[in-house]
Structure formats: structure tokens, C-alpha cells
Amino acid sequence: MTDTFRDTLYTIDHSGRRKWVYPSLVRGRLYWPRFVVAYILMLVYLVMPWIKVAGQQAIFLNIVNRRFVFFGVEFWATDTFYLFLVLGGLAIALFFFTSLFGRLWCGWACPETVFLEFLFRPIERAIEGNSAQRLRLDQQPWNFTKIWKKLLKHGLCAFFAWILASTFLAYFIGAETLIQMMQGSPTDNLVPFSLTIIFMGLMGFQFGWFREQFCTVLCPYARFQSVLMDSNSLVVGYDSVRGEPRGKAKKGQSDQELGDCVDCGLCVRVCPTGIDIRNGMQLECINCTACIDACDSIMQKLGRPLGLIRYDTENGLNGERRRILRPRVFIYGFILIAFLTAFAFKLNNRVLSETQIIRGARDVPYSALANGQITNHLHLKISNKSKQLRHYSVSTSEPGISLLVPNSPYPVEPGLIVTTPLFVNFDKSKLNAGKLKIVIKISDDSGYSELREVTLLGPDE
């Protein structure tokens, strides 16, 4: 065993050139569940823009109008507290699940793994053959067969990249709008059309060329692992206690002198990141479980127990006690529950009206009326986040003060933000050093009501 794995990426040769990985395919005990999960995830991704909940696209991230719909609940750009709860909850969920299950996400659900291993690589395999055939094809000079195979592969991959890119776009501009746009000339909707091309280009770059390098050198989540995991987190690991010394029994050597690993190298040949899991835990390992299936297939043939490479914890692999419940699991779990509870509570008590009383920067502070009263010109800003027409009224309990809005109650259509003038008339004698503090109540016909303190201005005499 050489020690180059300690300081050299597996996919880079001595001169710095990339070593292309041609992983073999082994369909084993863990391959099929991953296959099912991957296709369910792809299906969800593809159909979600077509599903409607309460008349709206189930997930609709309308950045242009700053409205974000999740299963019938619409969030506005001003709902930053929800965003904080969601992002905070996601971050803590990441900590919690990583400390328990390690890189389960990478191997089972990350789009990089799902699309590459279950969509693009199968296309490549179907056209160019198994790993040895693919290697041979890449090494042979350009001829008719190589050209048509490469053209067909890239053409098919581009077609699927188009479907995926359009679906991605549908989350942001709406599936139906996108279909309408597609029926017109691309020049009529140049931005969405260009975005489709850009996303296709990015997918072509990622799944056609960059591939495993994204996980090994770019993905920030992979970098987090070392701090989030400990020796009791779930990993895909090689049982070196059982496996070493590796090798096939030579003449005169008994099987008992050797470990269970027969050094066939299949675990390395199936690895999509090109590493040798027998060198221990490595940052490049995305826990895809391909090496588990590969090793199990060999152990089965040899009639030895399965699981020489298996899902286990570092402690488990070293023959020490496994501890699932650790302080970090409780701490992360507790914070996660707190975030989820706060989110559920906030959502349950969500107020769908938002109001503000503001003074315009260019407005005069006050004016004197013919009857000797003072008037302040304010603005009432109303956001109706509900799906019904609502009517808003303003009132004050202060005696001698009249509030004027163009309509009372003031109607606001669903999903709109409107600003209406609000005039406050009062007697000059009420002023104290040119100021008067009053409380205005704003309410709507659905039970919303809010008190706002306003400082009125007048002459300081």
C-alpha cells in the first residue's frame, strides 16, 4: 500500500492531470433501495411544479414578485422571521442528521449523486458500455463508432438536461407560464430562454465533465463533515481488524494467516470518487455504498460473513462500543425541536394583515385648516396577505381627534399592498411643545386589530 492517498487526490496523476474515473456497476443489497429513493426524488422534482395546492403551484418561488408559495402557504419578502426559522432549522437539521447518520444525504439524496448515478451515468453505460469498454473507447482514436457514440450520449444527456433545466425554471416562473413562453419565440422571453441554456450548460459541465470533483474539491457540505461527525457517527467503513493482512493465500501459506480481504480491488473499481476505502475514512467518500455491495458480492462467493465493508461507526469498526445517544445528539435535537416548534407556532398564529403608519419624507409636517384646526398628512400602508378581500378601518379613542381616509372601511384586494392617505385633524390647544402623541387602532373585518402610536406635529407656540 502506498501512502500517496494522504496528500494526493486519487483523481490527479503525478503531473497534475485528471485521472478520469470509470466506476464499475455492482447491483447489490443497498443498490436497489438507493435506486428506488433516487427515482422517487427525481419524480417529485419533476412533478412538483405541476401539482396545485389551494389553486397555487405547490412550490413556487416567485422571485420577481417576491412571493414564495409552499403547499398553499404564501410567504412574502417581509416574512423574514419565517426565513430565519427555516434556514436556522435546516442548518440545525444538517448538524443533527450528520452527527447521527454521517453523509447519508450525499449517498442517497444529493442531486449530484441522484442525477449522476441514476440518470446520466446509466445513459453513458447504455451507449458506451461497461467501465472497461468506456475506458477503451476514450483511449481509442476518433473513428466513426466513437463519434456516433459520443454524439448520441451527449445528445441524450442534453435532452434530459433540458427537461431538468426547464423544471428548475418552472419553480421560479411557474410551470404554466413557462409552457406559454415556450410556445412563443425565444426572443420574446430572452431571459428565461437564456437561463434554460445557462442551466443546461451548467448541468453539461457538472454531469458531463466535472462530476466527482464537485464532491471532492468544491462542495462546502463535504468540508463541514470533519467538525459535525465524530467516532460514533454512521459511516461507510472497512473493517481493517477483520480484513488485514489482506491478500490471497500463497503456496505454503494458510488462510488463517490472512484477513478476510482478498485484495481483489473491486471496492476501488466501483467507487465513483476513485478512492480506496481500505485506507480509512476519507473526505472524498460520499457514502454511496457501492463498495459495500461490491465487497459483499465477493464475500458471498467466498462463503465468508458479509459486511467487511459496511455501514458502521468508527468505534464499531474498531471493535469498540457504539454510542448513538451522545451529548451532541441531544443538544442538536433539542435546538432542532425548538426551531420546529417556533416555526409551527408562528405559522399557526400567522397574521395575514400587516399595517404601518408612515410620514412621507417630502410631506409638510402639518398644515393649518380654515377652521383653525391642525391637520397632519400621514400614509397608511396595508398588506393583505390573505386570499380574501378585506376591509380596514382606523379609529382612535382620543377625544377631539378626527381621522380621515378616502374610504372607511378601506377595501384591499387579496395579495396586495396598498398605501392610502390618512389625515388626522385636531385642535391646536392639544399640542404640547408642538407635539401630540396619540394611539390609532387599525382593524379589519376578519378580526385583525393593532394599536399604533403616532406623534402628531403642529406649531410650537
Binding site: 503531473s15 492531470r17 415556450m182 410556445q183 425565444p186 441554456i197 443546461m200
Partner: protein, 166 residues
């Protein structure tokens, strides 16, 4: 099939067609760029960029060694005999102690625009005179560049000099 239904079907193909056209244009554009690059500047397309990069790095490391070890080098060249032979004397002065043990010193001389007289030779040490090395080289008049490589057990150092010889 009447005209209007052909048209309405075509509507659905506009984007896919435009995408295919875009990538075909991109491929043609890149092929054109590559063809131009290969036909006009074949020297600009390097066949072994990594190997060259590593070789450059080795030169940089040697120059760095000369600086780190505090090596100062003087070169003096005698006037030419009728066959353009000149005596080249290299003096290696050290600013740091302990003195380096020098295994070998080589010199490579070349001219900017003429590779016909490129030469590389080992210099002879002068017994009893640490740091003094000599050699006879064929150096016609003109601007010469000298690369002096000093080989020590710790590695190699490289010093470059330039001289106009009349």
C-alpha cells in the same frame, strides 16, 4: 394536414429548436476558434503544459536556493584568441557560514537569437582556491547569457549572468 395545424405544432418546437441551434452554433464557433488557433499559432498550443510547469518550478527552486544560501557569483571572461576561445572564470562567494560543500559547477552559455553555439560544460575547480572554477569556452563576440548551476549535497542552485563580449 392543413397549414394552421402545422404552424401550431411548430410553436411547441420553437424553444427546443432554438436550443439545438444555439448549441450547434456554439460548436461551430468553437471549432472555428480551435482551427484558427491550430493553423495560425501551432506553438501557442502546448502539448505538455504540466511537464513544462514542473520544469519551470524546478528552475525557480534553484534560483531560490542561490538566494537562501546567500551565494554571490562573479564571472570574468578573458579576451578571445583567433578561434574565439576564451577562459571563463567563475568565483562563488558565500555570505553565509558554514561554507557549502560544492560537488560540481556547470555552465551553460547561449545567445538569445542563435542556438547554434549553445554549450554546456562542467567547470574545473582551482585546487586550493575555494569557490574558483574555470573552463575554456567557444564564445564569439556578442551578447551572451550564462546559467551557472552549483550542485551541492543539499540540492542545486542556479545563477544567471549576462555579458557583452567584444
Amino acid at each position: 394536414m392543413n397549414n394552421s395545424s402545422t404552424l401550431s405544432k411548430f410553436q411547441y418546437y420553437k424553444w427546443p429548436l432554438a436550443i439545438v441551434l444555439f448549441f450547434i452554433c456554439l460548436a461551430i464557433f468553437h471549432s472555428f476558434l480551435l482551427m484558427t488557433a491550430f493553423s495560425k499559432h501551432p506553438d501557442a498550443v502546448d502539448q505538455a503544459p504540466y511537464e513544462k510547469g514542473i520544469a519551470y518550478q524546478q528552475v525557480i527552486d534553484k534560483i531560490e536556493n542561490a538566494y537562501v544560501w546567500g551565494l554571490k557569483t562573479e564571472i570574468s571572461i578573458s579576451s578571445a584568441d583567433p578561434d574565439n576561445q576564451r577562459e571563463v572564470s567563475v568565483n562563488i562567494l558565500e555570505t553565509k557560514t558554514p561554507k557549502l560543500s560544492i560537488d560540481k559547477v556547470t555552465i551553460r552559455s547561449f545567445r538569445a537569437n542563435d542556438s547554434s553555439l549553445d554549450q554546456e560544460k562542467e567547470l574545473n575547480s582551482v585546487v586550493g582556491d575555494y569557490g574558483n572554477y574555470r573552463q575554456i569556452l567557444n564564445l564569439p563576440k556578442g551578447l551572451w547569457i550564462f546559467e551557472i548551476t552549483i550542485v551541492t549535497p543539499q540540492g542545486e542552485a542556479l545563477v544567471k549572468k549576462q555579458k557583452f563580449l567584444s
